[in-house]
Subunit: 130 residues, 2 copies
């Protein structure tokens, strides 16, 4: 879609202008929405697959500017690291309005209807570039 | 730097190939490292500014592929949303090795030495694309 291509182009321009310097800072869309899910059956690969498949449908929502879906990485175990979750959903939005469109979107509501029986706990962090 | 420009170019190619479809899924570097900080003095704008300035130094580490630094967004208050933190640090790495280089890097250690007196609590989530 044109809007998304425009974003990526803008990010590329930002990167070019900082080439030779440090990695681009805050060249991503301003709002990052990061959700962590704890499955009711954390050992169930089938439930994890269902959840990840459900999460992927969210990228069809027109205000989603980028997505990263994952599972705990096997980085070093430290007291501050929480690797107890089952799945991670990270979405970028341009702004609060974009996140609100997502929150209220039928595709998001369908995801919750289809998948909420799978999880026992959800934690959401919304951060705006600063 | 060449490596970073190469990454951004790859992301742009990925976006172009999915243009007209949904937002790109997992076109970012595979590992997302998301850290949330709770300041000892959450009302201190000066401490927040110091922390954010310290965080920006981390993008000089050569394995950092992208960065988003932020503060809680004023999205809708819901039970699942944790907006109690002071600052958010989101970094992308290509892989576990890249994150390890960052973790042990003198710039990271300097950041901890300079800024750890500012925070009372840190929570880290490392997610690998799935």
């Amino acid at each position: 879609m044109t809007t998304r291509r425009t974003f990526i182009a803008a990010a590329a321009v930002g990167a070019a202008s900082t080439a030779g310097a440090a990695a681009p800072v805050n060249s991503y869309p301003k709002l990052v929405h990061h959700v962590f899910f704890w499955l009711k059956n954390p050992e169930s690969k089938e439930d994890l697959a269902k959840l990840l498949a459900g999460l992927r449908t969210l990228t069809k929502i027109e205000t989603v500017r980028g997505a990263h879906f994952g599972v705990p990485a096997s980085t070093e175990k430290r007291d501050v690291v929480d690797n107890s979750y089952s799945a991670s959903e990270m979405l970028f939005f341009d702004d609060l309005a974009g996140q609100k469109v997502y929150q209220d979107h039928p595709i998001h509501k369908q995801f919750v209807a289809d998948c909420s029986h799978l999880w026992q706990r959800v934690v959401v962090y919304d951060a705006i570039a600063a």
